[in-house]
Every structure is written in structure tokens, then in C-alpha cells.
Symmetry: C2
Subunit: 260 residues, 2 copies
Amino acid sequence: MIMDNYRPLILITNDDSINAPGVHHLAECVRSLGDVFVVAPASPRSGQSAAMTVGSPLRIKEVESTQEGVRLFTVDGTPVDCVKLALHAIVPRRPDVVFAGINHGSNSGVNVTYSGTMGAVLEGCIEGIPSVGFSLMHHSMKADFTLSTAFVAAIAAEVIAHGLPDGVCLNVNIPARVMPEGIRVCRAAHGKWVDGYKRYVDPHGVPFYWLTGKFVNFEPEATDTDEYWLQRRYISVVPVNCDPSARNEIKTLADRFDAK
Amino acid sequence: MIMDNYRPLILITNDDSINAPGVHHLAECVRSLGDVFVVAPASPRSGQSAAMTVGSPLRIKEVESTQEGVRLFTVDGTPVDCVKLALHAIVPRRPDVVFAGINHGSNSGVNVTYSGTMGAVLEGCIEGIPSVGFSLMHHSMKADFTLSTAFVAAIAAEVIAHGLPDGVCLNVNIPARVMPEGIRVCRAAHGKWVDGYKRYVDPHGVPFYWLTGKFVNFEPEATDTDEYWLQRRYISVVPVNCDPSARNEIKTLADRFDAK
């Protein structure tokens, strides 16, 4: 519950770096809702999941902002580093929310596992702060974020006003190049990436490999998944458990393993 | 079900690199159970979660093995890269299991999120392969892994023989410096890392920060957590959901968000 006269503190990060338009668009969508601190990686960190920097130090740099009510910082680390270091050394009080994105590219389905955007969101959730990741299904740095502005602002305002269940954060994906039909809360579609690597041979005859491939949805018929609703031009909102323990399996597995 | 005359293929990786004793001890624990391929990072990759390398190429190098039935390879990437590239270009047939570890250090509680060991295990699980991460609660490269050998071999044999539930992998943590009392299947304790960074000032007067801190268990009284059983000298086995969707929350959140 937000009190009168209180300005919520909104911490924003991403994984595409401070130079990506998506993070500045997200700040613009929410800056009327509170004091905004953007703390973003100094360079792109896509596919970094919840990786954190343990073997080397990190630096913080404030950079000039052109948006009123928005301060901008870089950290030369991962999205998780940005959230951790923001809480430790940048923001003047505990954030009311952590938002990540808007990512240039989908984080639907299995991508939630690899996503640096969602890594930052998990970090916010571990800290007990309501946290949401936003991703647009378009990789281009010239992607048009404006069609979903009202939806992003509405989701952000709802989370700022009423929080989220303990231990649960949100993975929001936005269809590209269309005015969204609406919002659907759903689960992640099961699938994986296939045809994983392009093979090259260097001038010395030694092979090397570059990650590629395409996402395959294992359950295209299921009507309760993010992939299903995104294809129908809806914004998907997947609630994500911070604790991945499979509690339903404990009893059955105990019968197999406890006696070993 | 494993047929007579069939040699299971066991894919092993870790996040401490090919130079860490733990991965070779794990290979030794299980090499009587099948053909072992160790595909490990060329350099340490702790805290890498499910990060993958998207912006640069990867190389594979086979290195000499002194263990019969064990082949050793390095990939100059993350634990997830190791599993992906092993499946794509190294192993001669689909692995029957993916094992990661034995990690030098705990991956209990919230560490499951940051762990490169468990990132590799999630990748195996996404591929539909029964996958288990093993971690010893001792960071030293000279840690003694021998006290738990029989338990590790028993867990590995059980998973090879009977698999795991779809979409579920295991996070196994092993108490250090003691003969384990037994095994307990349980859930991850809730907690987080506090006192996050040590602050330095460089010769030019500019501050920099190095990650540190200690893990705080939010629920030390709970008797169904990994932290509880590890303190009592048991090996903890936490079943982990590959899909983090919080299905129980979908209906309640739909009432809040679908109409936005």
C-alpha cells in the first residue's frame, strides 16, 4: 500500500545495456509513478541468466539523463550485478519495485531460464521486492515500443500499488508490431532450442562453433501458455517462482532416495 | 529402463573448470556405471547460473584422460555451453544422464539460482535428460570428496536405472568433513546473501566493489529444508522444477491483470 505524499522508488535494469532504447522507453513509461533509478550493464549481457561476477571487481558510473525524474547509472557487470550493487551502493532507499527491460527480444517459454532480464527480476524477488521483467518480441535496436506503452504503464502501476505474492515475480512478453489485444496471465510453454550451432573452420584448420538455432514449442495446441497468447496478439504475464523446489515431488522421491 | 549389454552414456560437466578435482572425483564415482564424457569449462565459471555464450564463438579441445572409460574435453564457455555443445558435437549418442559437479562449495538454499552447476543441470533437464548436480559444502580445491563416494554412486545409479519425473532435476548438496548420516529429499531453504560488497578506492580516487557477504537462512526453524538437514550431516536432495511457472498463482493474478 503506497501512502499519500510518498514517491515510490523504481529500480530499472536490463540486459541489453544502457545503450539500448528499450530501457529508456521503460523509464519513460513509469516515471510518472515514482523516482526512477536506471542501473544498467555498461555493455550487452544477453543470455546471462542469473549470472553474477564473483572473480573481479565492479565499477559504478553515473551518466547524463535527459528524462526528468530519471537518474542513469552503469555497472560493468551482469543484470544481477546491477540489482545487487544498486541496492548496496546506489539507491537512496529500498526500492518499491524492480523492473527489467524492455528487452529487445522474446523471453517467453524456456527463454525465461537463460534470460538476463529475468535473472535481474529473480534477484529483486530474492530481495523481497515486487519485480517484473518486460520483453518485446523483436530483436532490433530500432524496434517500436510505443504500441504497448499503456499496457506496460498499467502493469507497472498495478504492481506498485498492490505488490505481488511472496516469492513470485512476473515475466511479461509483448507481441511486436501490433496493438496488443489485451493481457493474459498464463504459464510458460514447454519447448527448447534446436539446431544449436553453426560450425566454422579457422585458418589453421581448427573448428569453432557459434550458437544459433530456433525455438520449438513442444505444445502448440495448449491454450494456457505464453506462446499461445502471444501468437494471438496478447501480452503474456507468466508468474515465476523464485524458489524452484518441486515440492510436489518430494514425497515420491524420498521413497527412492532417503534409504540409499 | 536400461537394457542388458547397453552401456549408459554419462555426460559430466561442472563450473569449477576441468582443473578442479571435484569433476574428476565425480567421474571416478560413476565410471563403472557407463561410458563417461566429461565436458567442462576451460576456466572457472562459478556463479554463472544458466548463462550461455551468444556473442562469441566456442572451441572444443580434447585433453588426456588417465581414467579408463572416461574421455575429457574442454569448452571455453559456461556450464550451459558445455552441455549444449557436448550434445551438438561431442557425445556419440544421446546421454542417458547429465551430472554436474562435484562443485567445490555449497549450492544449497538460494544458491541454486546463481549456481553454474545447477545451470548445466537445468540445461540437461530442458533437453529431457535426467540431470543431477552434486556440490560439497567446502570451497577448497583440496576438499576431501571421498567420504561421500558411496552416496554419490548410489544416487547416480538410481537415476540411471529409473530416471526422474518429467521436468524435474536434482540439486544434491553434501556436508563437508563428515561421513554423511544419510540422504534426505527436501526443499530449498529460503534466504539470501547479505553485506554484499567490499568497497575499495583505486589509485585515482575512484571506488570499486568486490562481491562478498554471507548467506542468511530466513527459516532456521523449518525442518523440511536443505539447510536443516545439511546441518545435521545429511546429504540434501532438492527436486528442482525446470519450468519456474507459478501455476498456483495464475488464477488470482488473472483477476488483477487480464482486464488491464
